[in-house]
Symmetry: C2
Subunit: 203 residues, 2 copies
DNA sequence: GATGATACATACCGGTTGGTATGGTGGCAA
DNA sequence: TTGCCACCATACCAACCGGTATGTATCATC
């Protein structure tokens, strides 16, 4: 027998989280249907309400356990493959477009999606999303500060504000290309972004 | 008798559109409740389905008739108050934050919100939103080209790509400050953006 | 192997959703 | 005055929503 057919609470919990993540990623949290999630996970309602008290808790868990992980395993991982910040960022832009360009252009950034939908109407979501966001931003900030120490980035740039702006611009690029549903738009937009980052180098 | 109490189809139609816009702006299209819209408009379901065949058509009309207008009456109007592009853009950033900063920080950009929610799942929404977006982008592009003619912006910048990037970055700034729900974040983020636009000037 | 707890599946519930069918009313042309 | 139709209100509908109650199979433990 496959491990999935046997009783395996951790496994089914992960299946539920994964299915919920996919459904929410595409439809948004509010429009995400529990029955669709259950269908995707291959379990029934009893399993869901055994592991989670309600839909909200499931949504929160998706943010805390899936979203952050998904994020650090994609863009940030690529960025740190190079030990030069500027080079690494530009590499991550290309790599990100290459690996998950299809999802990125069609469904956008899962973090940004949830921010736009839930932040104004659910404080619990907002704080959790803010947690992920702050984590990403500090990672960016540290990377820039580190690059400054190595002389890869000008000393007069404010690392924190620059990290904020770079990430904002990146999310903006994703959003525009999502509407156009074309990777070409993302390429053109991220090209300007890469050019901006390039200007951070010492003259 | 007030004109509103008499039979006034155009008036009630506008009231419906306005109420729908507000509800969608806050909750999103999918989560927008028709009963809430009717309550906001002060009419009943009969009026709605007399003017619109269904919820989708109402949503489309909101994009076509309200969203575009709302957009051109706010940021773009401020931007063109100055006849210097760089100055005008920076002025519009400050002015936009000043006038509708509260809404901007809490509810974000109505165009960007709908793009994130609906573009992947409803082609009708996507094309209509793309129409508004393209209109905004061409307005930006023309403004930059015009500035280039006047010598306010360097000749070597690609007007189209720059317009794309600036708008993307702006939407990104709104998104981040929306999550933080603080105007201070928007200020810090838009400061970097203003600095970038400043660099478009001839050296 | 009996026992109790865990891990589900199934059936059901009230509430809300978008949508419809019907009925009434004011305005306008004949 | 009489129709007539645009305009809108009211009542009602099936479908689906998130959530619950209950039953059952499987596990660990003694």
């Amino acid at each position: 027998m496959s491990p999935a057919s046997k009783k395996n609470p951790e496994e089914t919990r992960k299946r539920l989280l994964k299915a919920a993540y996919e459904e929410i990623y595409l439809k948004g949290y509010q429009a995400a249907s529990l029955s669709a999630i259950l269908k995707g996970a291959g379990v029934t309602k009893g399993a869901l309400y055994h592991h989670f008290p309600n839909k909200q808790a499931l949504g929160y868990a998706v943010v805390e356990e899936v979203l952050q992980e998904e994020f650090s395993q994609s863009f940030l991982r690529f960025m740190f493959e190079k030990d030069d910040f500027v080079e690494g960022f530009q590499y991550a832009l290309v790599k990100g477009e290459e690996i998950e360009g299809e999802d990125l252009v069609v469904k956008g950034c899962p973090l940004n999606n949830l921010i736009h939908e839930m932040s104004p109407i659910d404080e619990g979501f907002r704080t959790r999303l803010d947690g992920v966001l702050q984590w990403v931003l500090t990672t960016f900030t540290q990377a820039i500060r580190n690059a400054q120490k190595k002389g890869q980035v000008r000393q007069d740039v404010n690392a924190e504000e620059t990290a904020l702006f770079i990430f904002a611009a990146m999310e903006g690029c994703v959003g525009l290309s999502k509407n156009a549903q074309s990777m070409e738009i993302f390429g053109r937009c991220s090209k300007s972004l890469a050019h901006y980052v390039q200007m951070l180098r010492p003259s």
